[in-house]
Amino acid sequence: MSSTFPSAPSGPAAVSRARVLAVTSGKGGVGKTFLTANLAAGLAARGKRVLVLDADLGLANLDVALNLFPKITLHDVFTGKVGLEEAILPAPGGFSVLLAGSGLVEYSRLTAEVREQLLRIIDTLGPRYDHILLDTGAGISDVVLYAVSLADDVLVLATPEPTSMTDAYATIKVLATQQNRREIRLVVNQVGRIGEGRVIRTQLQLVVDRFVAPTLPDTGAAPTLELIGEVPLDPAVREAVQKRKLLLELLPGSAAARAVEAIAGRLAS
């Protein structure tokens, strides 16, 4: 695939490529788009070049979250109506976005072409950014799994709610068994008290060690969950979401904003 595009000059001066991070959750409605957008803003505030790619092609809502009403979307790029460059939009928060546009349900049928397209986009834009964040859809559909497979790192988002934990676990299981992921990052959103994220990580890791690790081909390397942050349940988040603003811009001093900042700091380093 990559050979069809002009490759970077080899040697010590080779262009560095963006680190691609997929944000996924299993269950919907746990704050994937919220976290992705605010992490992007946090990274951008640290001087990083950041692109968010709305990989939730069936039911994209990044545009709604950011209060953008794009005339040009990924759909136009896929159909060749516009070039890739024209579809990259500046977002509030100082990062760039490639939006899917809501309701492009037809991509659930065009997937073979779409995966080529996604691969091409990431290949082409990789050298120009420090971070590319993929906001994936809910569930563990083929499209989500494919989007995740394009990423260097994967971040699973969960909340302390039992259904969310179960779905996060199911996601981790599929990523470990089908994509051979050995390192999975975890963020726990909407925690009620400090340290709840750590408890949930330990609990998930326990089940992974017991039930997932033995099914893997080389049982020596069990998948490890790395907790890279917990975000407290905070009315500020609700306010920002309702106003369709970035939390980091609207209420930067809030507890949730500081927590997201800390996660961005960990991703940046």
């Binding site: 659930s108 073979a112 563990i140 676990y169 068994t177 039930f211």
Partner: protein
């Protein structure tokens, strides 16, 4: 009209039944022709894709397991080369019939390419998948095809199968893709065999949930 006559379909007498009924019969006949493979009488590729799309929707909604099998006759070109295309057609018809004997009323069996057939099996539990595919393979293997008086041929098939993902929003092309990959594997591993994709382990068992929410462990950590 010529199309309908060729397909051997009887139309009612226009004067006796009236225009409306007659026209309906013509339309029904044309619909039937457009969804059938003329040689074998099985569903054609178009009909197969419709059935598959319907099944994708159903699986997403009801969460029932469904299996698709891609079935390819081994070394079919050699049959044509050695015995002629007429013999090849007889083989296709006989295999179509053998396959038809393996399916349940709700299954869809189609001829989707030259020597390629496909089956959509709704509500097929993962634990039955290989048994179903093996039954198909053995049935074909046992079928003697009389190509000329006194000359019988035996052919085999390679089968690739994949279950629909249990989670929402998959697509028919991806599903076929996955079954095709297993078909390539069956061919590469020596033909006359059935290969099934391991079903996605996306279900969380009661034991796993027990450990995940084990209250005692929760307390230990605090």
């Amino acid at each position: 009209m010529q199309l309908l006559q060729q397909s051997g379909r009887e139309l009612p007498d226009r004067k006796q039944v009236g225009h409306v009924v007659w026209l309906q019969a013509v339309l029904d006949g044309l619909c039937e022709i457009s969804s059938r493979d003329p040689l074998t009488g099985l569903a054609n590729r178009r009909q197969f894709e419709l059935a598959l799309a319907r099944e994708v929707d159903r699986v997403a909604r009801a969460g029932e397991p469904a299996l698709v099998l891609m079935i390819d006759i081994d070394h079919f070109k050699a049959v044509n080369d050695a015995h002629g295309h007429a013999a090849g057609d007889l083989v296709l018809k006989a295999i179509a019939q053998a396959l038809d004997e393996c399916i349940r009323p709700m299954d869809t069996l189609a001829r989707v390419g030259g020597e390629e057939f496909a089956m959509v099996l709704p509500n097929c539990p993962p634990s039955f998948g290989l048994a179903v595919a093996e039954r198909v393979r053995l049935r074909v293997q046992a079928r003697a095809v009389a190509v000329t008086p006194g000359q019988q041929l035996y052919v085999t098939v390679s089968i690739g199968g994949a279950f629909a993902p249990q989670w929402v929003r998959s697509s028919a092309p991806l599903w076929i893709d996955r079954a095709d990959q297993q078909l390539y594997r069956a061919k590469a591993e020596g033909r006359n065999r059935a290969c099934l994709e391991q079903p996605t382990v996306s279900l969380v068992s009661a034991e796993e949930k027990g450990l995940l929410f084990g209250t005692s462990t929760f307390q230990d950590l605090e």
